[in-house]
Amino acid sequence: MSLKEKLVSSFLAFELDTDTNSKVHEIRSKSIKDFEKIGFPHSKDEYWKYTPIRKVLNEELTIFKKKRHLLEFDKVKDFFLGGIESYKIVFIDGMYDPLWSSTTHEGADICILSSVLENKKYGNVISKYYNKLINEKESFSLLNSSFTKEGAFIHVPKNVELEKPVEIVHINSGGESSLMLQPRSLVILEKNSKAQIIESHYSLNVNEKIHSDKHSTYVDPLTNTVTEIHVNENAKLDYYKIQNDLETTSIIDSTYIDQKSNSEASCHTFSFGGNLVRNNLNFFQNGKNINSILKGITIIGSDQHIDHHTLVHHANPNCESHQDYKGIYNDKSTGVFNGRVLVEKVAQKINAFQQNNNLIIGDNATVNSKPQLEIFADDVKCSHGCTIGQIDENALFYLKTRGINDNDAKGILTYAFANNVLENVGMQVLKTKIKKIIARKIGINIGLEL
């Protein structure tokens, strides 16, 4: 039985312990039908041209987990920001873990989706915002909508500014083989509100032994996550994604952000880990004077594969978008960037900027880049730039004449290459954490007090 057939038939079993009499379930039923029609993408699909997604679609994958795993603090503490107070929503193998979480309903709702999805009190919010932005021709988003059950729910009311950042942490305990996770999150920022959210995915390294065992039947988990974000008038959102997982797990991350007038939303994606990572980041501008910021740093090696697909849909006048993606590729790794900027006829006075710079370090590394502009309005300023190259020989020489050895000089320049993406990161703790990861990834001791 193929994975697709298996998932479709799993839906019947999934229904058994689900309330089938709700609006949300109607969406699930429709989604699974649509998914059945479309199936998984093929390498001939333009949208998946450079990412061999089928290699991670193991037939053994299942959406059902066998048992519940509890984790000790020692094992999970590094997964949190630390040094700063925050709200936390923690999931272990896709299940909410109240032990390490700290949620709230005071002032704002920072909790889990399962508690609101079928709760009458939240009926209006759910029917207004849930499943409104999903691309219904995208198989992984459909699949996620079919099995939506758990995930983060953040609702910041009018004029509220969250004083603490929110951490959404997904942990694979490593105790579950072949698990296909379908986390679904919904984030709503009402008028004039403000929030900072950090989403991260981690796996525990308990299966190292299993990996070295050839006869092992262990199948690495696959996460297929979907996040819907609504940023209403005058609201401001900073969203950070940290993908620093083991090199064995794979993730397909689809994020849909809808912005209303005068809002500002930024999304930083830090991709350092994972076997195969696919990010679909979509911004829809439904209002005037909107600013969208998309930034990303990718540093990978071995045979990792990271794919960034971005879409900025300018549907209204006087808006801006800024994209800046930097990639550093070592060993046999593969990087893909497909940035699409769509400017509609009515969207005059748009300022759209897109930049993709890549540094190839590995002899067998590959970069496929496709910065794409589709413009139907005339009074716009749209530009994109894309470079693929190496460290500047002159800069390297300059540093060496100052007595810095070759390795360190290269490290400093590589670090500097990636560093300017961090400029807009307001949260100092996070900035430091990312800088540390970058320095470690590049293998230099930057010698600064971080």
Binding site: K345, I361, A365, T366, I375, V380, H384, I388, Q390
Partner: protein, 481 residues
Amino acid sequence: MAYTEEELKKELENQEYQYGFTTDIESETFPVGLNEDIVRSISEKKNEPEWMTEWRLEAYAAWKNMEEPNWHNVNYKKPDFQSISYYSAPKTKNNLKSLDEVDPELIKTFNKLGISTEEQKKLSGVAVDIVMDSVSVATTFRETLAEKGIIFCSISEAIKDYPELVKKYIGKVIPRKDNYYAALNSAVFSDGSFCYIPKGVRCPMELSTYFRINQAGTGQFERTLVIADEGSYVSYLEGCTAPSRDENQLHAAVVELIAMDNAEIKYSTVQNWYPGNKQGKGGVFNFVTKRGLCNRNAKISWTQVETGSAVTWKYPSCILRGDNSVGEFYSIAVTNNYQQADTGTKMIHIGKNTKSTIISKGISAGKSQNSYRGLVQVGKRASNARNFSQCDSLLMGNKCGAHTFPYIEVKNKSAQIEHEATTSKIGEDQLFYCNQRGIDTEKAIALIVNGFSKEVLNKLPMEFAVEAQKLLEISLEGSVG
């Protein structure tokens, strides 16, 4: 009177096709439709050897099993391949010795186009191989070229006179199964040009061919093969105009260039086929496959000025197989009314130290759509590959669109690739800057539009640059005021 962008836009919209007329010449036309017998008859009609007939039939067999691609960013009604006549030849006497023998009607046509063969013969020193519909009717300067050992003739003559050369190179750069339209062309090509430059020879003049689609409902399937042997140089010009017609005409040409070690080929095109009327009715479908192969230290340079056709869909490409080879692509594409263009290039870096440059300028007006689609591919062994790409679009009016689809695929760490693209209109701040320096709006617009296209216009050969400016429906220089 100040000349504003608004007026420039109007002028663009109101431009009528100047070269819309039909020449009255008796033509011999095949019945419509395509099948094996038609392919056989075309081959027979042209007295082709057996191997060529077989070659065509194989291409036809492949084409039958292929599907028309639809990944492009253009919309058009798919041509009905069974309602096209695949052969049409003006009835002229064979083996013309001088221009006097050419049908006076033809001469008139060329005069209207401002490319009088005689004049060109005398003044500009350009040898013109005129293709009227499908068969070559006049080839000039053959003797001058022959002295140098240069072969410049129609491809059907070449098949008869130089079968070894044709057999060796035809379909080598663009295999018959390469794509749908290349396969179709391989099966039914009526005529085209053949050019061979021997070792170490620098072709003393610009070689040029004028294409005209004349017979109503006739598909034009040209086949061009240019071979530059070791250390040689040739500059080849191709220019086109077509009469006004209401039905869509299909043009599916194939151009193959082969540059041997140290050779250089410069291929320039000015395309001004009938773009359809203001309502988007009629117009030529221009689906062309153009590709060049560079051997060691060779250089191929494509320059194109695309102003005509209802739908333009072409990607002149360079395969940089030899070490140190160089590929260049310079393009201006102007679309107006309901025209659509999806054009660009492919630079395939295979050899070491290969270089490529892409400069593409798109100008869209009216309700037209203009897309740049390009591929820069660096293979694993292509060390020190270098590419620079620049795609700029200028939008005039808010009903048109400009799109960019650059594909960049790099598998070698020593590659250096730069790509940049911009889309804008003539900026108010640019105009303001000029104004405050004492340049009036009229001059300023001329200056800006001219500056926008200059990089590409500069690359055209002298003889062509004048024509290009004339053919660009928007006069880029000196038209204002």
